[in-house]
Symmetry: C3
Subunit: 141 residues, 3 copies
């Protein structure tokens, strides 16, 4: 059994959905040795999230932002947690809708993703800053 665990700091990004597959995979040493296994990623935040979606058109990522902004509005009558800014509470909801973690199968040293699947960092705050991620890979060599 091979175990690899480390922390990756993702560069700060603007509010929106960003393709970070390469940035994440380049940050993990030792994936290439794992013949069959899993890769787990946890974003250590409550106002940003990770998801898998289309890795081609930037249109798709823009439309993600539009839908989420519409579905979780900043100005809603029911918000009571408003002290940290109008983008804060919607960011918490969006983060839980998408979730802070991903688990990907590893096959012959690489994540066995579909052709069109890429990893999105979903930045739900206006000024989220750098984001910390714990990567854990394990499997058989």
């Amino acid at each position: 059994m091979i175990w690899v665990q480390g922390r990756i700091t993702l560069a700060p990004r603007s509010r929106g959905f960003h393709l970070v597959t390469r940035e994440i995979l380049d940050g993990i040493d030792g994936l290439a040795q794992i013949r069959v296994g899993l890769l787990h990623l946890l974003l250590q935040h409550t106002s940003a999230s990770l998801t898998l979606n289309e890795n081609a058109s930037p249109d798709v990522r823009r439309d993600f932002e539009s839908w989420f902004d519409d579905a979780v509005p900043e100005r809603a009558r029911y918000w009571t947690h408003t002290l940290e800014g109008s983008d804060d509470m919607p960011a918490h909801i969006k983060a839980s809708l998408l979730g802070p973690s991903l688990v990907l199968p590893l096959h012959q040293g690489r994540p066995a993703l579909g052709t069109w699947q890429g990893i999105y960092l979903c930045e739900h705050r206006d000024h989220g800053g750098p984001r910390s991620l714990v990567a854990t890979a394990f499997g058989e060599g």
Copy 2:
């Protein structure tokens, strides 16, 4: 440690929510040998998803389709990614809301699901075709 990894091709299904527990479990050889472990499933697509929910009433699955169609409408003013059809962009959003993967505990050779839990294939496209899934099971024999 036992590791089992393989690909399953799910039969094409109409747009909606479909119970596929049996189809998936029958597609994985070697589960029965794992006394304690995990089963990970990844759908390799960005317009379909997996979830666990009620395995009894077909009503529940129909109401899932109704809610998701209402919450992520095909005709919204904010869509810009419209080239692949009006069902495409909503399918991407729905796929990320539910997620492409599941992790289930294995106990005595079987997933330790609750009495009412079944695996849904959530087909968000009008004509999604067959769907590929990577199954990875591991644990102690």
Copy 3:
């Protein structure tokens, strides 16, 4: 390799979002021995869910309930599965939006959560009763 698997019964809670990090971690024997590994949690129900979110302000958890009640209304024209009460079908939808499971990295015998991350039990029914959870931890000692 260390494997630990057990069942935890969470005390009944009112409808809403509840911080249960301590209750869950105290229910799992042997975590402290795992130097690097993962912890998987599965709630064995289809009308409650687990998520990670802010562990500080109770305001945040109240606003979660408000948003989810607004987004998945009890009285919608499209519900057909209404036999088990008006809170039942919305509970199924909410449960799948948030998901029944979590995977957390283990590092030096503890979940490597962010400073502000805590585990929420999301109780979507009016009278959900006690909730069963299967915890599976594994890794290297």
